[in-house]
Amino acid sequence: MRIPRDAILPSLFALVLALGVLLPLLMMVTISLNPNEQDIMVSMGSIRSFIPQVFSLQNYIEVWTDPVHPFGRYLANTALITFSTLILSILFNSMAAFVLAQGTLAIRKPVMILILATLAVPGESLVLPQLMMAGWLGQIDSYQVQIVPGVANAMSIFLFYQFFSRLPKELIEAARIDGFSFFQIYRHVAMPLSKPVISAIAVLQFLEIWNAYLWPVMVTRGPEYRPLSVAMSAYFGTNQAAWGNIMAFAVSMAVPVILFFLILQRQFIASVMSSGVKG
């Protein structure tokens, strides 16, 4: 392949960028495939920790069958929490946003002001009272306690609102004349049109929940309801010397997300891009 002259320098930079991202990941994979902890320590920092010398799945088998840290359970917990939150959040927040954008209720304005005000509140400043409330309701260490707070998402309402308020008035009016109820307009007119905004919100919230750490650390006590992110840090904290196993844990945790997003890559990139402001 011939590279045009003014693309040579950018191509070199692109190579540097790719190496900067890939080398640490290559190291993670290489170490995870090496069953010999001693050898990992000796070769750490040399080229051998970046190019696999052995291909052993022993670390992976140890991680997946560890009775103290049930990897499968953590993965299932994370998936359940993530998808439940996403479904409830998209359903409730899009419905509310549609009312705010196209409805006739008199309380729309005060509600909108409330939503905009809550946008400014950083979630981190609410974790302690939320924890107290979860304790009062006896919900500590459960799935609900990890799902429900993610559903209350003012940002999601706001993004849906922006989209719904730009829907052409004639479209809504035509559906109304055809005898659609308000809910039917939402269900059969607005939602089918909002696939791009749904995927944008879903992608951003997916990453947020999959990465959640502060809240799950506080509300989970043991492996039963613990998500992967907390399990990973607990594993990391208790197996400091077992780098092969830690890296196998890391790869096992990273691969499902990476695959998921590489398959949906175009939507993913478009989603993140559209979450910014337009110039």
Binding site: L105, L128, P129
Partner: protein, 295 residues
Amino acid sequence: MRIRTKGQGQELAMLLPALIFITALIVVPFLLSVWFSFTDQRLVPRPIPTKFIGATNYERMLVDPLFWQAIWNTVLFALIVTPVQLAMSLGAALILNSAIPFRGFFRSVAILPLLLPMTVIVSIWAVLFRIPSGPFNAVYQWFAGQGAYVDFLGNPSTAMLSVVALSAWATFPYQMLIYLAGLQDIPQDLYEASKLDGAKAWQRFRYVTWPGLRNVNIFLIIITTVGALKLFTQVDILTKGGPNGATTTIIHYLFKQGYATQKVGYASAVAVFFFLAVTAIALLQRRFLKNEGEA
């Protein structure tokens, strides 16, 4: 008006679930934390009832040296990571926006860190930072000689910078994608025109690209700063706020006070302070940056 009643009932039914969630999980906790901040509330109830203690928590907070250290660390982190990360993101976006071969491949590679959970990234970087012979120290030994090493995470003067490097690597693709969107919004004919006028690459960047990214920059500076002020996960796993408090951030301090030592009342004062500080900084930045651009 009567005809409307049924429709309005439906509207209310659609609005209520989200409204209840927002009220119960944001508004009520927010009010609770303001209330707690004036009491001696504990995480686990004690036999002695919780009582109102006025501004005592705030007074104690303002004289705790660790609180000020946490603020200083957080501000320092935000001040360093925001320009570093935005420069990285813009650089990467410019590269990926130019006519390079395998652009799709490079773009997929560049977004990878965004897809990795922070806990995974922290464990990878823990290896990179290893003493005495992790990869970074191996490079250092090339220059400083055999046996020399830097205790990146154990030395108070390098610990925060190490967290900056990790964090910038971990999250730059988000800003990069938004810069890419911004770059693609700049009309191509502006570049054509400036080329005809004989503008060099640097001049095209200075007079076309940079002004064209103005709104994107304002947006990214604000969200990156606000995100940086919330730093917690990385330091909790990697350094536990140490060494010697060098990486204790406001949220880590709040977590330690409210959760580990269970002083919810006191930690709520920190939370209220944090909320006010973040809001003030975001508002100030917006005002300052907007005016700057218009002047």
